[in-house]
Symmetry: C2
Subunit: 550 residues, 2 copies
């Protein structure tokens, strides 16, 4: 999966809303305005989407096996009857290419659409409908859909390199294996990178007898494209083990869908480690100041740089298999890829043949990464990061960076429209502000003690500090979940309830405030107050885990 302009999650909501308003079916297509640059060649002569290109995607709202919410989909699981599920669309939805779409579009009746709805198929005047224009045109569209639902088996495949000193601490490195078509980029570019990394670790082990301090698990997930099913069910199945032992989850989905610059998303405590790894790897096409992957990242980062000059690392949505690690079990996680030049891609996106039949080996080999030098660089960064997490005496997780990020999210919330509306209603951010300050102070004091007081030769004391670093992410998990989303549990960072590729800060508060002035529920503000209290408690709880242990 990957965020694209017209993304499948938006389509999913379209399917639900359209059904609610009486639609019998939906036909989706990818318009050249989003997937082609004027004058640039389309596949196979270039990377852009040809008129026969069709983007597939899941229409399921939710994650994991839809029939086993909250529990793993094992042989003995209780499967909710399909008729009771509210997370699957109730009308047929079918994607087509823009060549086929033009046949319909040129016949459409109604007024011309607003500019932002206009596409770029030549010779088409984009209209709202309904129906076709010519009065004598009796043609209707008949959809004949030959799909069916079935219970199928998906496989997760693991490779485990057992840790030498702390085998019960797991660094998990994962990528999904299923694809909508050939999937050369999504996910096979990531699969190739992960397999090469595992091979490299395997060689160091077999040739030199080396093992990392902690266990590294390589995971090849099944059924990601249907709703992160493989990784989500695994997180549900061995939740107790992961809660205790997981250090971090490193994800690659597409390692290369461009070669302009890298892009990383992560929980805030992993940022510095990603920088450190990127600094160790040579840029595949070095030039002047840009000698390392980090240098180029800093120079070209899509989301700009922080005040200290470091490239911005955004938070994770839930568009790939890191989702369940963060949301089910509170495990720190990251995602990494090479992306195209956001300045010249259509609307900033980078991968026009996404989820189409044209995501092929030829595409990658010819256009995206001839020689696979970006694959290699991306894989090297991930390998360095995995080694750092698995082998450093002190876990390279930064609690202060987490606290700083939370402080930033808090200030954005308080000072933004949502916070101002809450203040206007008489709510106070004083308690939450105190909790944020406590978190900042405890994180700073924790790292000071770590630097000044920790006896690095005392193995159990080292373990104690590491456990505090490792378990910090767990502190943001509320077992009671978010309002209306009981299985999404991270109180600070969750996928947006409106677009699951995107991320929301303090989702409980943001969702409770959604369109509040048009909400007729007389208790609407009670939920806001509750969610403010929950966020305050969770931050305070996170702070408390960093205090001296006794």
């Amino acid at each position: 999966m990957f965020q694209f302009n017209i993304n499948p999650v938006v389509n999913t909501f379209q399917a639900f809303y359209a059904a609610e308003f009486g639609a019998k079916g939906i036909i989706l297509y990818s318009d050249p305005a989003d997937y082609v640059i004027d004058g640039e060649p389309v596949y196979p002569d270039g990377i852009y989407l040809p008129g026969t290109g069709t983007q597939r995607g899941t229409l399921y709202i939710g994650s994991g096996d839809p029939q086993t919410p909250g529990y793993p989909s094992t042989d003995t699981a209780y499967r909710h009857p399909e008729a009771n599920l509210t997370t699957l669309p109730t009308i047929p939805v079918y994607p087509i290419g823009y060549d086929d779409a033009s046949v319909f579009l040129k016949r459409m009746a109604g007024n011309e659409v607003i500019d932002s709805w206009k596409g770029n198929i030549s010779g088409i005047t984009y209209r709202y409908g309904p129906g076709f224009a010519e009065p004598d045109d009796k043609k209707r569209v008949a959809m004949k859909i030959f799909t069916h639902n079935e219970v199928a088996t998906a496989w997760n495949v693991f490779g485990i390199l057992k840790g030498k000193v702390e085998p019960d601490r797991y660094v998990i490195f994962g990528n999904h294996r299923d694809a909508w078509g050939f999937g050369a980029i999504d996910p096979s570019s990531g699969t190739a990178a992960m397999l090469e990394v595992s091979k490299a670790f395997g060689l160091v082990k077999s040739k030199h007898g080396w093992r990392p301090r902690r266990t590294i698990m390589f995971a090849s997930w099944g059924a990601e494209e249907f709703g992160l099913i493989g990784s989500w069910e695994w997180n549900e199945e061995i939740a107790k083990i992961l809660n205790e032992r997981a250090v971090a989850y490193l994800n690659i989905d597409q390692i290369v869908d461009g070669r302009y610059v890298v892009n990383a998303e992560s929980t805030p405590n992993l940022k510095k480690s990603i920088y450190a790894a990127a600094k160790k790897v040579k840029d595949p096409a070095p030039s002047g100041d840009r000698q390392t992957v980090y240098d180029t990242w800093k120079a070209r980062c899509r989301d700009g740089t922080n005040p200290d000059g470091t490239p911005v690392v955004n938070t994770l949505g839930s568009g790939s298999d890191y989702g369940p690690f963060v949301q089910v079990n509170g495990i720190s996680a990251m995602d990494f890829r090479y992306i195209a030049d956001y300045n010249t891609s259509p609307q900033g996106s980078s991968y026009p043949t996404y989820h189409s039949v044209y995501d092929t080996f030829y595409l990658v080999d010819t256009y995206y990464d001839p020689g696979y030098i970006y694959y290699l660089a991306g894989a090297q960064v991930m390998a360095e990061l995995a080694r750092d997490l698995a082998d450093s005496l002190i876990l390279p997780l930064d609690a202060s960076d987490y606290a700083a990020a939370v402080k930033g999210y808090f200030e954005q919330l308080r000072d933004g429209d949502i916070g101002q509306r809450m203040l206007q209603e008489g709510l106070s951010f004083a308690g939450m502000g105190s909790a944020v300050d406590n978190f900042t102070r405890e994180a700073e004091d924790f790292h000071r003690r770590l630097d000044e007081e920790l006896d690095l030769k005392n193995v159990l004391q080292v373990r104690t500090y590491n456990d505090q670093l490792q378990k910090l992410e767990r502190a943001f998990i509320d077992p009671l979940g978010l309002p209306d989303r009981p299985l999404i549990r991270h109180v600070v960072l969750a996928p947006s309830s409106k677009d699951s590729y995107a991320s929301e800060k303090f989702p409980g508060i943001v969702d409770a405030m959604f369109d509040i002035d048009n909400n007729p529920d007389p208790n609407k503000w009670e939920l806001v107050k509750q969610q403010l209290a929950v966020a305050t408690f969770i931050i305070q709880s996170a702070a408390s885990t960093l205090m001296e242990v006794a």
Copy 2:
């Protein structure tokens, strides 16, 4: 708190049912049939309840602060409006003594009650009512209740003896401090014992510089009598810390409410450690074969002995502060006390002045434990147990005992009326049986590896094995909670939904099956199937935590 014949939980349900059927108020009294033995002297001439004796108790269905379910009752907590609470009775309820009760009872109209409802106030014919008998008796009962609800502050007080080697592992020893009256037995007998134990540990530390390997926390809970509020809120507040660090919770409520024999309740993994502690302490009144506390326990155990001759240790209900440790956070726990001779006590109970104003120092000093030799023995057993848990290199928790207990509960369920009814309906216990067998096998293999393969000099390997023993209890926690009781989370052992002093095995299944053949809900069996699947998953999950770590 303590289980008594007519216990406050039953009274609580009475209050809800009576209100539902139109009652305006309830008057409760303690009948001499339950609280006095014919011919035996009542307080102050003996231990039995005098006619002016009134038993108090909470009428709240639930645990923890009723206004902050699921979250700690801090300054910034969201407090649900009192009007929305369904866990507090809606009509006044007042307890009186049997002298006052006889004034009403002798006037009662209606048929004579069934034998099991008859009490023992002399000269009374027990009748159902309604109303009074004499046709010209216009008397009505007016209840004038001068209570009110208020938000008050309760205090938990802690004493911490920091561990020398693993300060981040906590053995928690607790007792509540609040009482309905003088509370000489409930809870001050336990408080005295706990303070003496803490003093003893303190002396060994200050005189000899000794510290235990792990941290020992002594906790004095507030507001237990109102619904385990102090301990429950604390478990909610530092849930993340306790999840990571708590080894076990040791509870005393009443250390002595008799002197015939000890009684222990615990999670199954603590049984052997309790035996070991009881074997180390001399019986306060040794005789023949009964030289240790354990010897007398084995000879007189209220619930008999196991096939191997050890005294039966029952599971915990939720009648005291162990409740939140087990139900909120999945922490292994136990409770211990001296009890009276169940053969000669009224209906097997031991403490007639429970929760009355006659629970005084005079009562204890004169009748229950002159010289406090049982106090001492009980405190010594608890001290030995705390030391064992805090100081042993390998945690004295037995996973095989847990597996054996779960196997026993499973077989009781399957072979009992509930299981037979499920089989009749076409459900299968095969999956659950496999999970139970896996748990048994993994527990055995774990202990074999611990005995044969663990290198005791490898501090991190020892920690790994200990962490598996420590965290086993967590595996029984379902964050989604039990049906209709989302904040009660232990899938194997929970307080009965019908009587919170008692314990239920597989409460999700048992509750779903409750009165199922009279349940008009067409989906009633779906819930049973779900709960069978949840129990199966949880047992399998527990088994998986005991496997080799990588």
